[in-house]
Amino acid sequence: MTAQRAVGAPVARRDAFEKAVGAAKYASDLFLDDMLWVAVLRSKYPHARIRRIDTSKAESHPNVVAVFTHRDVPVNRYGLFKKDRPVLCDDKVRYIGDPIALVAAETREDALEALKLIEVDYEPLPPVTDPIEAMRPDAPKVHDDGNICREVHLRLGDVDGAFARADVIVENTYRTGAQIHAYLETEAGISYMEDGKIVVVAGGQSPYRDRAEIAHALNLPEEMIRVVTPYVGGAFGGKDDITVQIHLALVTWKTGRPARLVWSREESMMAGTKRHPAIIKIRTAATRDGTILANKIEIVLDKGAYTALGPAVLDVAVENCNGPYRVQASQIDAYLVYTNNMVASAFRGFGAPQVIFAIERQMDLLAKKLGMDPLELRLKNALRKGDRYVFGNVLEGSVGIAQCLEVARSHPLWRSRGRNSCEWPWLRRGVGVAAAMKGYTIGALPDKGVVALELLRDGRVLVKGSFTEIGQGVIQAVAQIAADLLGVSVDDVEVVFADTEVTPDTSVTSASRQLFLAGNAVREAVEALRERVAELEGRLSGRRPARVEFSGGWVFIDSERRYSLQELARLLESTGLGRQVLGVYEVPRVEPLPGTLEIPHLFYMFGVTLAEVLVNLLTGEVTVSKVVSIVDAGRVINPITFTGQVEGAVAQGIGFALMEDAKIRDGYLLTRDLSTYLIPSSKDVPEIEVIPVETEEAEGPFGAKGIGEIGIISVAPAILNAVADATGVEPNAIPLTHERLYWLLKEHGLVEQLRRAST
């Protein structure tokens, strides 16, 4: 029987079965016998010195087993770029989610009650919550070494010459907000001792990295810790940093007992990471015919209290801030600034949604000034394969932005632009376009992934890797790739994932590159298996074969002989060669520009979003009535997971653009639940049309590209460009809430105009 090709087929996901019947276990679904309930005491102030922590009353609570503070943490600083984050605060608290103490008790209620018995003597310090203010030398210091966490200054090409030559110059300032991940499962985990090891089972994105962080904080060898990542109830970057893991390991290590820690929604809102709020100033020089000559760009990202993944986010912002255009010169000054706001870190798009929002609004404003069609302006400047990008890098990977723009140009939605009659006099219709780009893979940083491939005795195949299933469908995609490479049915491929004890390190699940990495590692593993077969054949027949082919559940050797995979497994085992091989894939990389971490990337993803909106002039409400997402997808591995990923990204983009308004006043979060921090519901997301533009990424497995993030990046600017098209008002800050837009409309006289027109 010949196996049907799995890559490219819309196959229902294997994990979806367990999830649909309620059998899938998430970290928050795990309960252990004799388990302690852990609760975290968090800071009352955005910025304060801790004078004294008195836990004696909490400790004497009858059902409390232990209370822990910084005194119990062997190495009290963690973090991926900079070890600046306390496991439990000692000298100071730097934001309202900062953890001060842990209570471990027999029941949930006991743990929560005991939190109230802990006395903390604070000396409140003036908080600094505006990043621009924080950059001033006299601002209160969040950390002793000052508030600028990182800065990047690049001078690319002849910027002054370009501005001197320009026919038009456009300058604007753009702002984006602190979007909250709001995954449905909050940060959660359990821990227990097994065979002398601490086992932590928690929602995360990178078991090996989490293990390293735990080992460092507890000052234990990594081998003493096992991290397992079960199904994760959404991550989007928000579980890329440590959340519950070190706290759980500490409790189990100190008490010897199993423990459970699940953050409440409020805790998740306050202590979970956010998207970096950004202030971006762009000054663009262009010629009369619409050729962009140069951009001067200033980026300020609000880091919040700790570094987390901020430096890499800043670099992504810097790399993509010129957009997918042939810009010859650019001056970029970027700052990552500490404040006493909540910690910002990874969130789908990782710095790109902020800068692409800015540059894509800027493109529309430039088009308006030039009197050009905004889509034609983009097409005129769009990058093509082989172009030299602004960093001097030649784009050798696939570059599908022009194709995406051409699809947009001929789409009926774009062609209906300007046909704006509405049902009620106070409604206005508009259509907007925006383009997106983002480098994927980790760029100039070393990035290596390993998977193990085991031929089971019954002839089926087991793939093991530390990739995490955060909803994106990586398990299914890996199975499909392995099935095709080995010529077996996808049902004969088992996948074990995300367990440091069982699976090799496939690096981190982030930056839209896990499939790219794992898929390529699987390809390498199949090569290794082929090599192993050749070795086997050498031993058996004394002659190394020239060709080893897998097909239909058989391995063919020089078209002379064949073994079933079951037979092959038996032979590999009996000869001692072993049934398991490793595949190692190292992402090709380029030397980073001096002063940057990972600029440029070798591969880029591209996309274009079209959005149709209805604006109510009397309320400021924007209804998104249609979205078309055109994605340069490389080869699509599984069309249904692909469109699903893009649709989900679009919905998050709608939230980012219009309603997800984390209200923060003086460092305090006012929107601490899903009643005040609103994410899009089924009534807020329209029908979404996803159009893949399949270019071939030669380096990707089966020509696939990363697609996890691209769908969100140009949604917000497309929506705001549509609002501008509908109303003539040019909003440059998001979220564009009803109230913010209403005042803009009123300021521009639209409310009054409507009134005069109707009377």
Partner: protein, 292 residues
């Protein structure tokens, strides 16, 4: 950091049992659908609370039309109200509001009596009840009494209700022929959301398009839901022209006193009140053929 307030739950099946417990146990809080109360009890700032669970007092779950009066038992859920032919016929404004109080799960559990007694100024069922001049039947150890909905609220969450009394029934006298109206609500998303402003407009129009009676009620813009006599005065006796609609809409600012909160500023609420009254009047005018 969610900490459930400690509770004691007394569960009853009949109105009599409920009233007896209310008289004999001090400090009982009545819980019906619990859609808001349990969320409040989860914040942990509430001390131990004794709850009287009336969710199974089935005798208070009904919609009837008797003696020309629509009677809705206090424990009737919003789903039942929304689906009731009687409500749709005699108080369509209320059916509209019932559909927007929340998701189906909220409609399945939330009761009209709970919504009334919870006394949120943003409660969606209240503006229609104000516009319909609804009356509440209140029962207690001293028997029953009737209170107009407007008189039931004495201030922010201050009720004309003794600790041993229960709201048992909502009574609505159908306004009669020629009345048209709509409920409106502004939430910050199209799905489930608490109203930034809500309200109801109910008009009786003559065949020539002259307003004979006008009732304008607004929520979330004052400590209690309010009627806008200023707006109603502009409307009554006038022809429903865009100019009159704007004047009537703008008059509502005399009768409201909104505040700033996390969902919107006072100034925005003022603008929304005006603009929604205008939009609703316009909608009524268009539906009745007064404007094109």
């Amino acid at each position: 950091m969610q900490h459930l307030a400690d509770v004691e739950v007394y569960s009853v099946r009949t109105l009599r049992e409920a009233l007896e417990l209310l008289s004999s146990v001090k400090g009982l809080r009545v819980i019906a659908g619990g859609t808001d109360l349990i969320v409040q009890l989860k914040t942990g700032v509430v001390p131990k609370t004794n709850l009287l669970d009336v969710s199974r007092v089935d005798e208070l779950r009904y919609v009837r039309f008797e003696d020309g009066i629509l009677r809705i038992g206090a424990l009737t859920t919003f789903m039942e109200i929304y689906r009731s032919e009687l409500v749709r016929r005699h108080a369509p404004l209320l059916a509209e509001a019932a559909f927007t109080v929340g998701s189906f799960q909220i409609m399945n559990k939330g009761t009209i009596g709970g919504n009334i007694v919870n006394a949120s100024p943003a409660a969606d069922s209240l503006p229609p009840l104000y516009a319909l001049n609804a009356e509440l039947k209140i029962v207690g150890p001293r028997g029953e009494r009737f209170v107009r909905i407007q008189d039931f609220y004495k201030g922010y969450k201050k009720l004309d209700l003794m600790a041993d009394e229960l709201v048992a029934e909502v009574r609505i006298r159908p306004p009669g022929e020629g009345y048209v109206g709509h409920f409106f609500k502004h939430g910050l998303r199209r799905g489930d959301a608490i109203a930034v402003v809500n309200g109801a407009v109910l008009l009786r129009l003559s065949p020539e398009g002259i307003v004979r009676d006008a009732r304008v009620a607004l929520g979330a813009v004052a400590p209690t839901v309010v009627r806008s006599p200023s707006s109603e005065r502009v409307l009554v006796g006038s022809r429903l022209s865009p100019e009159v609609m704007w004047r009537a809409a703008e008059a509502v600012v005399n009768d409201i006193s909104p505040i700033d909160d996390v969902r919107g500023s006072a100034a925005y609420r003022r603008e929304l009140s005006v603009n929604y009254v205008f939009m609703t009047l316009y909608r009524i005018a268009r539906e009745t053929g007064v404007v094109a």
